[in-house]
Point group: C2
Chain length 416, copies 2
Amino acid sequence: MSEGSPRSPVVMKFGGSSLATPERVRVVAERIARRHRQGDAVVAVVSAQGDTTDELLARLHELAPDPPAREVDMLLATGEQQSAALVAATLGTFGVSAVSLTGWQAGIVTDPSHRRARIHGIAPERIRRLLAAGHVVVVAGFQGLNDLGDVTTLGRGGSDLTAVALAASLGGTCEIYSDVDGVYTADPRIVPDAHRLETISYDEMMELAALGAQVLQARAVEHAWQHGVEVQARSTFADGPGTKVLAGTGTERIQPVTGTALDRSVARILCERVPDRPGIAAQIFDALAEGPINVDVIVQSPSHEGRTDIAFTVSEEDALPAEEIARAAVARLGGGHVSRDADVAKVSLVGAGMVSRPGVASRVFRTLADEGVNIIAISTSEIKISCLVRREDGQRSLQAVHRAFGLGEGQEEQAE
Amino acid sequence: MSEGSPRSPVVMKFGGSSLATPERVRVVAERIARRHRQGDAVVAVVSAQGDTTDELLARLHELAPDPPAREVDMLLATGEQQSAALVAATLGTFGVSAVSLTGWQAGIVTDPSHRRARIHGIAPERIRRLLAAGHVVVVAGFQGLNDLGDVTTLGRGGSDLTAVALAASLGGTCEIYSDVDGVYTADPRIVPDAHRLETISYDEMMELAALGAQVLQARAVEHAWQHGVEVQARSTFADGPGTKVLAGTGTERIQPVTGTALDRSVARILCERVPDRPGIAAQIFDALAEGPINVDVIVQSPSHEGRTDIAFTVSEEDALPAEEIARAAVARLGGGHVSRDADVAKVSLVGAGMVSRPGVASRVFRTLADEGVNIIAISTSEIKISCLVRREDGQRSLQAVHRAFGLGEGQEEQAE
């Protein structure tokens, strides 16, 4: 996009953990100030400090167990606004003139929905004017304003989306700073010999992010892909190149699998002995989509005596509403038993190389079978394989597939 | 204004102490809900919870000892926004549909200044629309938006001003709720037999508020007076009529003194041996006004050897900047010694009846003299007498004048 121009702005996004203490806020400000002094036009996007969002939600739920989504957004948006003001003021102590902006002041317009609003557009004039005047602009992430004039939020990890959308709108690049120095072949806390990827393709990164890799938010990667924004995942506390998300690098890899992920925040909803009529699954999943609840791995059993079992996974935080919606839908369809199982984990492998390399799925199944792990359900796409396993088997499963596909530090790809 | 119409809105303002705990937020919501059920159109104005504002300032000052005023406002405004969302969500649990609004969403436009912005105007269309649709509107107090699109705050106690300005704009009445059930002849914690006033005039209330009576903010009372808004000070936690602020009630009183106040948050700045030329005081006080620092009691001593002493009081929080500004001004004028004395307190008597009753001042001086209290400085207006005393003498002085003017519960006015 803008690689040729040395003055195209850089959007630096800092997560809540990078801002959790005054010392860390100073490190973040120092990093922004250094970049500003190098002559870059800098827009910083900040999340709420540390556990602020969870603390605000706890305070709210104590008063209102089922609060209106509009008021949740109104409350949560304050966390990022506080961060933005604190970072802007701290930049002043480094001799850098900085101006904080809320989402709406930054011109971020969203659809009318709350909690998971989508960005409809950005009016970047105010940011452009401030950058042209030599200021660093610090934008409160995670939030926007809808056409009704209500504050909206963009969902967990939404500050990544703010950063990417601003970079797209300003014709700049985007750097996402966090505690880790890039995207790894697996979570290094679980797989010690996991190694950092120099590059990853947009589609691989999207899958990994959606599968629980916490470095980048899936919707942000999708947005970057659509708008050709160069995204880099870097460490707040160390120098280094991090991981670059680029178009089309994945298929050039030698290995079929680029990265792996373990998501232990999933739950399985089981709808047993539902009357088996055409369109039965559609009716259940339409009701869930209206929730709105994202459904992942879906398994429908063969019909038996005119009845069928349908199972699907959702994120743990959606488990309770998903169960209720499914139970109501099943009741409308003529009955059946609906239950919830939180004792599951999802192990996933992602790689654009899978498309051209058959046999990846069978190697996964064989690897898990050799480990004595029972696969509860499977979901595959062109570049992804996810296996649902018992939660106690999750860590061992991840380690096994990571090893089987030669992803370890210095590990050669093993012959089939 | 709107007394005839049973449906003119009521603006109910709740202070930070009334919202300090979840239990208190529930009490506030219950009170608002009750009023709503009685058929009133209710606008609630809320302050930040408990010590939130001070805590935010502490977090900011740890990072930036001298932060830009713009960023201070950006940070502090979040406290009221949180309160508004929490109260609106809690109203939902009482079956009341409520919508929270920030200052700018409520249409509050201020001048460009920060920390102590003045309300320039209110565009109440959104509130009117929400009220007409049957919602309770919960407005974040203390804040507005200036013409540059920046968030501004209205100064300590600014939520009172928000409430009065909204009442004026909507043609409604205003009720200010706090821990105390009205305006007293003195602070009951210091003078146990102080009694609640049924009514007080705007001018008396303004003086008392400016003198440190915490029930109502002086600028809010001034705004109410200018716009003919009926204001009532009531208790959040008890029923009862509170105190009504009305036009012209003061002069009908039998007693010359309506109320008394003790302000222990004052400091005295002493400029010694300043060259005595015409306009010398004006130059010092012009510099302070630009601060902007409100100067209260001013005393200039007779000239001696071509030099003079000028002393004045300021609020304790302004003491340090006031001393610095005065020192710079005095240096420009040719030198002299500037010092700061925080060991002072201000005892004041307010009463519209003073105008027509001579001898009040002399009775104050005699009373304090009989108590052995030394008066450091004096300031008077048509309806007010303030005496600066040593801080250790403050409480005793207040009790003495309260007694001397017959303000105690059931106490008859004493003959001269």
